[in-house]
Subunit: 376 residues, 2 copies
């Protein structure tokens, strides 16, 4: 994985939220520049202390470089590692993190640097949002899923046994730092799962990006930075635009939940084991496209293109085998339920989505699950 | 305790925070009017479901009335009780509340009604701020401490073993409903502890209110509504003004921490047992006044007036006997520590406060603690 010579080394995308605006800095092999950029970006109060929260596998590859970069910029750094995996997104783990922040001497001026995937970003972001009623946080995503999705937009949270992200806060980062060179150490399955969120952005909002994904799928899977960087940049711009328009998810931002309603249920039923978030989203998007077609909202050809692209990327599209009543129970615990209805994000065609209020029973009619079983 | 015939039954104080502004409704025997007022105040989305969070002793006296009032206004109500006492302000209790909110079918449109003292308000407020990334909350304080202080201003949180309110969020209520008739069931010791926060508001900001407290101390202690209502109204207005000016505590709001820095340490060292928050604040204010005098900031006569008023109210003023190093350790865990300094709120005289950055060691010099011991 080498940087393509011609393109600019760093690209900046702005999330426009008034006083809480922040930049996404996207680049290749830029981890060593983080410290200086962070100190420059975060003033008043000046950054003198940081706590680097990460997981053991990420720490092995990148923590020393990030810590060195911060130290060279004059920032005193303490490292805290949390166990890898979705199960770390728990109240118990948050509780342990609070205690460790205290032990590390964190005060209100301390900056939390979340280095890792979506789990670290969500957990560290939630802890930062609630520790001492709020510390500043910088997101340094090292997985494609976190770059394409979870590091942008300020959604933080932990899971409860009954469902994902049921506890959380909106807490925008002060800076998002994406070094796509870190993706070279990402396992292939995790990389593919991250592509699901890129597909999502294209599917709901950008037919041109979708076509680019179809055409460059092999190069993308090979992690060719010359293809990946502009694709990720476009994907991030879509998300940044939506967030800037609707921070709190009262309208347009709901479209970002495309594939997530059923995806979350799939994860809950798997107890967060055996299925990656991006894989669950792929399953959820394929399901949503089929359901959109059944509801007369989406042409069959567009549904087929979405399914084909997901399959080409090596992502799953069939509903895992669980009783329908289990799915319904999981859907009813979804935090987006309002008055017994979910905001189902339907596809109207590649590049266009619409929100439809639907009861869980109508989202998953009795037939669908049976058909799924036959298909497998 | 009877309502004084002449005064208006309800007084409205506005906390001005732009789109997040809200009213404090202060009155006598107004609990039955809460439901209609709540539905009127909270629109978009209209309130159809509420979860009433309270403690067993408060529930015994008032939960049925509040629930009835809500039901009559067309709101479906579920009740949840949490154990009484500061130790309920924990992550564990918050975790149990999340599960019970799920079991109660709470969704994003559900309103949390916190009925009780500061513990219920802080805990329910924190849970509301983080459940599904934020539910609306209405504070219905039934203790003088919660009325005078904790129900106003949006500070919510739970304690960690190492200190008070170390985890939390700013989450403004949509309405604060104070029925001072509920104070008749408050134990005398708790009532007196609540007066400490009223004294605080007078001491930092309003010499006229302070004089009124001195003159009417007996009537206040007798809970005469004709004296209590206007005193509480003035106290709430002071807090509302300060919050409106500085929601996030970057300047003026710090003055509200008068007596709280050492007060929190007193509570931490007592493991939240045996000392009420208002009592700890009284001890902290008396200490702060003495320290202010030593620092040449406060005339002896003003320090004496403060100590005399606290004693007249039956509140403690002497530091509990703990080793100085224990106090210093507790002070160092204070969430307001920034760069090894605390924002010590000093008294400049009755009605005037100032913030002084001070290290814990300078806040509590070796001599002070020894003198305290001799005094006892």
């Amino acid at each position: 994985m080498q940087h393509p010579g011609r393109a600019p080394r760093r690209r900046r995308i702005r999330v426009a939220l008034g006083a809480r605006s922040y930049p996404i800095e996207l680049g290749f092999d830029t981890l060593d520049e983080l410290g200086a950029a962070l100190v420059k970006q975060l003033a008043a109060p000046a950054v003198t202390r940081a706590v680097l929260i990460t997981t053991p596998p990420v720490a092995r590859h990148y923590a020393a470089r990030v810590a060195r970069s911060l130290k060279q910029a004059g920032v005193f750094v303490k490292r805290i590692t949390v166990p890898d995996g979705e199960r770390s997104k728990s109240l118990g783990e948050a509780g342990r993190l609070y205690d460790r922040l205290l032990a590390a001497g964190a005060d209100r001026d301390t900056v939390v640097v979340a280095l890792g995937g979506g789990v670290v970003g969500d957990l560290a972001g939630f802890v930062a949002s609630t520790f001492l009623r709020g510390l500043r946080v910088v997101q340094v995503p090292t997985t494609l899923l976190a770059m394409a999705d979870s590091s942008i937009g300020g959604k933080t949270g932990v899971n409860l046994k009954r469902g994902k992200n049921l506890v959380g806060a909106f807490h925008q980062p002060r800076l998002v730092w994406m070094d796509v060179a870190t993706l070279r150490t990402l396992p292939a399955r995790h990389y593919r799962a991250g592509l699901a969120e890129v597909v999502k952005h294209a599917a709901i909002r950008d037919a041109k990006l979708f076509r680019r994904l179809e055409r460059n799928c092999a190069a993308l899977l090979a992690r060719d930075p010359g293809v990946l960087l502009p694709v990720l940049e476009r994907s991030c711009r879509i998300k940044a635009e939506i967030i800037s328009d609707d921070e709190r998810e009262s309208g347009l931002r709901r479209h970002l939940n495309f594939g997530h309603t059923l995806g979350h249920a799939v994860e809950t039923l798997a107890a967060y084991r055996g299925v990656l978030h991006g894989e669950a989203v792929a399953i959820g998007m394929a399901f949503a496209a089929r359901r959109s077609e059944q509801l007369g909202l989406c042409p069959a050809a567009d549904r087929e293109r979405l399914e084909a692209l997901l399959l080409q990327m090596g992502l799953p599209t069939a509903l895992p085998r669980h009783p329908r009543r289990s799915y319904l129970r999981a859907l009813k615990a979804d935090k987006k339920m309002q008055r017994a209805r979910l905001h189902f994000v339907a596809l109207c065609g590649i590049g266009r989505a619409v929100t439809v209020p639907l009861s869980p029973a109508k989202l998953l009619p009795p037939g669908e699950n049976d058909r799924e079983r036959e298909r497998r």
